[in-house]
Amino acid sequence: MYAYDEIDRTLVNERVSEFRDQVKRRLSGELTEDEFKMLRLQNGVYLQLHAYMFRVAIPYGTLATNQLRALAHVARKYDRGYGHFTTRQNIQFNWIKLAELPDALEDLAKVGIHAMQTSGNNMRNVTSDQWAGVAPGEIEDPRIWSELIRQHTTLHPEFSFLPRKFKIAITASDHDRAAIKIHDIGLRLIQNEKGETGFEVLVGGGLGRTPFIAKTIKHFVHGRDILSYIEAILRVYNQYGRRDNIYKARIKILVHELGIEKFSREVEDEWQHIRNSSLQIDDEVIEDIRSRFTYPPYEKLPHMPDELRQAAADPDFEAWRKNSVAPHKVQGYSIVTISLKPTGGPPGDATAEQMDALADLADKYSFGEIRVGHEQNLALPHVAKRDLPALWRALDKLGLATPNVNLISDIIACPGLDYCSLANARSIPIAQELTRRFANHELANLIGRLHINISGCINACGHHHVGHIGILGVEKNGEEIYQITIGGRADENAALGTLIGPGVKFDEVADVIEDIVEAYLALRERPEELFMDTVKRLGVEPFKERVYATR
């Protein structure tokens, strides 16, 4: 966990007071909506179809149990009893009243949570690997650097009025769980040949209307220079980024139009002006941040405790363990992913009761810490292996032990037309139907790793471009139509999917996905050949033929 200092607490509390005054003036008519809109967006307040939506930041996906309980409290007191975890380590409440928002913000501020950097054309919540600090083989805990960037960019005037929103993600593992290649800046923590810590810097990734995979702009930037290098990128973006056309305003468009070579030369020139300035980070600054991340007092535990050996006789436990439990850097401990994708449920939703109960379980079994991943699942990062059977039984009672992590029903979906004012088509009902079709865990395991991503409009909040199977809802003549892509991925080998053919109607989507999966099962050369391997080997044609032969 990271312990906030007095500066952080003052900042968050002052923000609540300011927003309370702004809301008061808005409700009295002293501020018009035009004047108020930017202020509310800077506090994570959108207007959606049914009501205001309140987006709360979970920096680098780390939550303490008192923070999760505070989110449950907001869900219960100010909303309709549940929250929606998003693809960028935020949580959204869908039915919040403007008049009550200052109170909700104040309640969250008491536990160090806020809604800054969750909206507007500024630097957004810096995201990271949900297994940060516990995954085996990491160079270093990437949250230390996430926190450094968070501190530097929060309310920074130069980053508060950018041409468009700006997103940074950081990973420190070979396997990228933070989807850094689809961010405006992606940072991969590495060490050079001298053993110095630094970053491979990628730039210009993003999805939406014009998707691009980020390109490497510099293979190694020393850790002490990372703020100045990021600032150099942002200065070039601020100078050349288009403000006349919202669809061309993201940095990915600038990088694409200038070309990565010219863009990198511009950044390099800018960087030379500022790299030896006060932006160079002293070791003491990093040490101070590092010291504020506390790690549990791990015990020395056996690799295979008796409790685990005995529980292995239970096939349901074993199915869950094999699916949802991952190796930890400390012997005797595990990382447990909590699926928020129950059969028939909306992806990423958790009720207030589930949040409270999960906080209790985290206190009991995970040193009071919870993580939030971009796949819209949660994780308990420090579970002793001996506790896994008891944890599983407790999670099962809460409906939080669905053993489908990374399987076909572990669907990423945006809120879609059921909630979002930008959406053209529904996402969640498509996801719900697919989870029912693939509810059989034996079938899901037979299929193996397969990610389905669904977006209800071209803005791509469901990351459909990088789904192994991507589903994009559009509107055509007043009807919901869904375009299907295959072959996308969001990991270290990130790629954009390929459209397989004409869009299909709402009622046909689940049938089409079943056809694609059946084709894959028939085409794969062996059970170990994953869906993505088959697509890579054969291309989209066999899948296209299967889907459209009878349509």
């Binding site: 808005r26 409700l27 009295s28 008519g29 018009t32 909506e33 207007l47 179809l49 049914h50 009501a51 205001y52 309709r80 009893g81 549940y82 869908n94 039915w95 919040i96 009243k97 403007l98 008049a99 028939g344 449920g345 909306p346 939703d349 009720t351 037309l417 059921d418 909630y419 004012s421 930008l422 053209n424 088509a425 529904r426 969640i428 009902p429 719900q432 509107e475 007043g478 919901e480």
Partner: protein, 105 residues
């Protein structure tokens, strides 16, 4: 499912209403003939041509404290005078999410 952002030129193809979200709590409301807002679609003022629509929208925009983001939305008017939303987006705004779980609470 027309986005309100696209309603720069007002051209309506049939009976329409002005809808928005109430400022203090955000709930869906409709402009009434009594120059007020109602959460009940059946109380909405119906407009049938562009001039009427423009006038109703202008009046609604002027009531900035009452509701935000007003726009013109199509409706269907039954033979009994009953008003129904004219597209899926408006149907969802009126009756709630279609996902059939606790979200409906």
């Amino acid at each position: 499912m027309t986005s309100p952002l696209e309603q720069k030129k007002i051209k309506i193809a049939g009976p329409s209403v002005v809808t928005a979200n109430r400022t203090w709590d955000g709930i869906v409301v409709y402009r009434t003939a009594a120059k007020s807002w109602s959460a009940d679609l059946s109380e909405a003022a119906i407009v049938r041509n562009s001039d009427e629509a423009k006038a109703l929208l202008a009046e609604s925009v002027a009531d900035d404290v009452g509701a935000i983001g007003p726009y013109i939305a199509p409706v269907q008017v039954g033979s009994d005078g009953g008003i129904e939303p004219g597209n899926l987006r408006e149907q969802i705004r009126r009756t709630g999410v279609t996902i059939g779980q606790s979200a409906q609470a």
